[in-house]
């Protein structure tokens, strides 16, 4: 052990990079270890066919934290948005699509009254989401505490809720406790509109529209969209990742790819280093892990050095991924029935009604893939031409539901069968699409787990639910970024405030670690 690092960050996903850049900015000597050959993690790009790349998981920017952008000067490191405030198109098999923006909805069968209800509804939910966004900016308070800081955070949060006013406050409490289906049922009658909104509440979760916690997920998705709405960076997600990487390197951070951490090494007083798969031991004062909580605690640290009750909570952490990722290389642009080619840059949803999604989820509940999957589709080549050779396009879609724990496992046959169901469904909306396919790839949650090292291939590194949220995220005892082992911090999506490309957990964790001081 010749060199000694102030901090070793495990994982060069966007949160790991963010965290490292903040630590570097504070003058710390930081090393980032990444098991895969490229940086970016689930926000990274992936070459899946000759000359064709796609975002491996995340394809849309919802909640990139403006403070992270400013603090790390990401714009001077090349971050630009290629598109912002992207509309959502709720696809209709017969071409009667609806177009949703932040405050408007248009399309056949939408009455002026429904239009007004939509604007008011979204305004209100955005007010609620703003409370959530504010809560995401800081370390969650501890429930039982003797530190003024925890009470201050709680008080600030209470103040935010209070500011909503009596009616909103009541409404937030009310809908927070029910589900998105019931909430939408009160406001809207158009199934296509409701289906589109439902999908936003269940993407990346093991939930159907009638499941508890769907309102929370809907708000989480809205929480970051105050600035640019739904956006795409110049160069796609790679634009974000490259800027973060440059920002980190500019602050002296060293990044080693193809270097998996195999063990977090501790002694009686806390973390002492990280052991690599090669057996090499790297000494450090603290470790910040952006690997998911189960990987971090059960595999890298090991339950032997943790207390039984904590292990039990980690074991019980729910993180069953259900989102699969579809990648297609297409000859020419796909043609959706009745959809203007100009609309291909938006989010295209196959979610014709709440019941369609609920039925799709039913299968997952019993360990099967959906017969008729729901999808969120983007055509990244619309914004980033370079992702495919001239004349070609790539399609990137989140497909639900494909449960991580598929009964019988994700065999080649099971995968082929699910792929066939996806294509059948796609072809109902884009009839010629099969003939355009040059190359196709399906990543099930099992593949995502293998590819990105995330247990269950879960979007948020752990289900976003009230019992795994804020001061309970991922579990009590590790909810303020600091793990029970001194010197170990969580800095990935499994920590507060959760997943999506935001950089917020990475930033908050770095701040918690810096406030906690360097050990020894």
């Amino acid at each position: 052990m010749t060199e000694r690092w102030d901090a070793i960050v495990i994982g060069a996903g966007h949160n790991g990079l963010t965290c490292a850049a903040y630590l570097g900015r504070a003058g710390r000597k930081v090393l980032v270890l990444e098991r895969s050959s490229t940086v970016g993690g689930m926000a990274g790009m992936r070459r899946f066919a000759e000359g064709c790349s796609v975002p491996g998981c995340a394809h849309l920017l919802y909640h990139l934290n403006p403070r992270v952008v400013a603090d790390l000067e990401l714009q001077s490191h090349g971050l630009r948005l290629a598109a912002s405030h992207l509309p959502t198109v709720a696809l209709d098999e017969n071409g009667g699509h609806l177009t949703l923006t932040e405050r408007s909805v248009d399309g056949p069968g939408i009455s002026p009254q429904q239009r007004a209800v939509y604007a008011a509804f979204m305004d209100r939910l955005r007010r609620f989401a703003a409370v959530l966004a504010a809560a995401g900016e800081t370390r969650p308070p501890r429930l039982v505490s003797d530190q003024w800081r925890d009470y201050l955070t709680l008080a600030a949060l209470g103040w935010k809720v209070w500011q909503l006013g009596r009616d909103d406050m009541r409404e937030l409490m009310r809908i927070g406790a029910i589900n998105i289906f019931d909430v939408l049922q009160e406001e809207f009658d158009n199934p296509l509109l409701k289906g589109a909104l439902c999908l936003d509440a269940v993407l990346g979760t093991h939930m159907g529209p009638r499941s508890p916690n769907t309102v929370l997920n809907f708000l989480h998705r809205l929480a970051g969209q105050t600035g640019a709405g739904v956006a795409v960076a110049d160069g796609g997600m790679q634009g974000v990742i490259s800027a973060l990487e440059r920002a980190a390197v500019a602050r002296g951070v060293e990044i080693r790819v193809n270097t998996a951490a195999s063990r977090i090494v501790t002694d009686a007083d806390g973390v002492t280093g990280v052991e690599l798969a090669s057996g090499e031991l790297l000494a450090c004062r603290m470790v910040l892990s952006s690997a998911d909580p189960k990987t971090t605690f059960q595999r890298l640290l090991g339950p032997q050095v943790l207390d039984t009750g904590f292990n039990r909570r980690i074991h019980n952490l729910r993180m069953r991924g259900t989102a699969a990722k579809l990648h297609l290389a297409l000859r020419g642009a796909p043609a959706f029935r009745g959809l203007d080619a100009a609309a291909l840059g938006g989010r295209l949803l196959i979610a014709p009604s709440p019941d369609y999604i609920e039925l799709a989820f039913d299968a997952a509940k019993y360990g099967a893939g959906s017969e008729h999957p729901a999808m969120e589709i983007t055509i990244p080549t619309v914004h980033t031409r370079a992702l495919a050779p001239a004349g070609m396009h790539v399609l990137s879609a989140v497909v639900q539901y494909a449960p991580a724990g598929l009964r019988g496992g994700w065999s080649a046959d099971a995968k082929a069968g699910f792929m066939e169901r996806i294509l059948t469904q796609l072809a109902r909306y884009a009839p010629g699409i099969r003939e355009q396919i040059v190359s196709a790839e399906l990543l099930t949650p099992a593949d995502l787990e293998a590819e990105y090292g995330v247990t269950g291939g879960h979007w948020h590194h752990g289900e976003l639910a009230l019992d795994q949220f804020m001061m309970l995220r991922p579990v009590p005892g590790a909810a303020q970024y600091a793990a029970p082992i001194p010197g170990l911090y969580l800095c990935g999506a499994g920590a507060h405030p959760g997943g999506g490309v935001s950089g917020t957990p990475g930033r908050n964790a770095a701040q918690a670690a810096l406030a906690g001081g360097l050990r020894r």
């Binding site: 032997q304 207390d307 009750g309 292990n311």
Partner: protein
């Protein structure tokens, strides 16, 4: 669903027929689902058997776990607060174990039967906790409560009686040691352990042979004052010895609902069984923090003025503030003192700082109350040299 009456009755230990025959008072109680005897004849008669000759107590309902496998030592060392890394086969260790917050789940004895073979005996059931604790360890955990019979033989003549029954060389067995013997014609494990603070043994054997062992011991002890004892006599003896009991002197932390009801080992006077020199064990971080911050409660052995046992009494300080409660109390015939175990809030009870108990008692149905001064006692009320003497003294 209402079960047929027959199925709701308490279970019977393998010695039930013998217990029933000897139990003149018919005073039974439920011990972990088994019918156990409170008192066979009179409490004092049984108590004096424990102190002056020997008492025989059925331990069958005691919870027993077998822990085996490559990591069994490491597993137990992480489970309990005491350092077991050097405990040799043949040794027994009195241990406490805690949850993450450093609050005591239970206390009990750990038997090292072999490098990879251990037994844990306790008052409460812990299978769930033990299984959860096994994550990451190569161990097999098996509850053997009903597969192993146990008898406690406690008192000055206990060694003599067991030797009479065939346990040759038993006198050489030091305290907290166990070994295999043949006794009353049955092969068994005998440990020099017990709950009375005196010379005494616990013997462990196949339940199928329980009647033979019982009969053989009573016969061997015929001229040495051996008699069956119930829980009430034992309770006096254990309070004299200063031994605390789960569910009586502390709430097992897993059963606690209110946050301040659980206790740490320090708060139960068991700090000497917490070993921070070993790296990782359940509750270590919390206990270290407590050591720095100071404990909230303190366990006291009290010598209470007067003769009315201070059962359930509040403990007051000089300023007449309630600072704690008595958890166990009895008149001690051996110490000729009115003794109690109490839990008080710190800083009270550090030394004799004027604590007193408000004792209620009845005289011909009428309630009376006295204010009784309490003297904090440092060691147990009963602690004879013969407890530790090896070879065991012959009486």
């Amino acid at each position: 669903m209402i079960m047929p009456l027959r199925d709701r009755r308490l279970l019977e230990t393998p010695l039930h027929t013998r217990l029933a025959a000897a139990c003149e008072t018919q005073q039974w109680y439920a011990w972990k689902g088994f019918a156990a005897v409170q008192c066979f004849t009179t409490v004092l008669q049984e108590y004096f058997a424990i102190r002056n000759s020997a008492g025989l107590f059925d331990l069958f309902p005691m919870t027993k776990y077998r822990i085996q496998g490559r990591d069994s030592r490491a597993y137990l060392n992480r489970l309990v607060t005491r350092d077991l890394s050097a405990l040799k086969p043949g040794r027994v260790s009195y241990c406490v174990w805690c949850n993450d917050a450093g609050q005591v789940l239970d206390d009990g004895t750990v038997f090292c039967l072999g490098e990879e073979d251990w037994r844990l005996c306790s008052q409460e059931r812990h299978l769930d906790w033990l299984l959860w604790s096994a994550q990451g360890f190569d161990v097999r955990i098996h509850e053997e409560t009903t597969e192993l019979a146990g008898l406690a033989i406690q008192g000055p003549t206990s060694c003599r009686i067991l030797r009479n029954a065939g346990a040759a060389g038993l006198e050489q067995l030091p305290p907290f040691q166990h070994a295999a013997f043949t006794c009353a014609g049955v092969s068994m494990l005998i440990s020099r352990t017990g709950f009375t603070g005196d010379l005494g043994y616990e013997i462990w054997f196949d339940p199928a042979r329980a009647l033979a062992v019982w009969d053989g011991l009573l016969e061997a002890g015929n001229n040495h004052g051996l008699r069956p004892i119930g829980s009430q006599a034992l309770d006096i003896a254990r309070i004299e010895a200063g031994f605390i009991q789960a569910g009586v002197d502390f709430m097992p932390a897993e059963q606690v609902v209110r946050p301040d009801r659980a206790r740490s080992p320090f708060e139960l006077g068991l700090g000497r069984f917490v070993d921070f020199r070993k790296p990782g064990f359940n509750g270590r971080r919390a206990l270290q923090a407590e050591q720095q911050r100071g404990s909230r409660h303190r366990l006291l052995l009290l010598d209470v003025e007067g003769s009315h046992p201070a059962r359930d009494a509040f403990i007051y300080n000089r300023a007449r503030q309630v600072v704690g409660t008595v958890t166990s109390a009895t008149w001690s015939p051996s110490a000729k003192a009115n003794i109690a175990i109490a839990s008080v809030r710190t800083p009270w009870g550090r030394d004799n700082d004027g604590l007193w108990a408000e004792v209620y008692y009845r005289r011909e149905l009428q309630w009376e109350k006295v204010r009784a001064c309490c003297r904090v006692v440092k060691g147990p009320f009963f602690d004879p040299p013969r407890k530790k003497a090896t070879p065991a003294l012959d009486f």
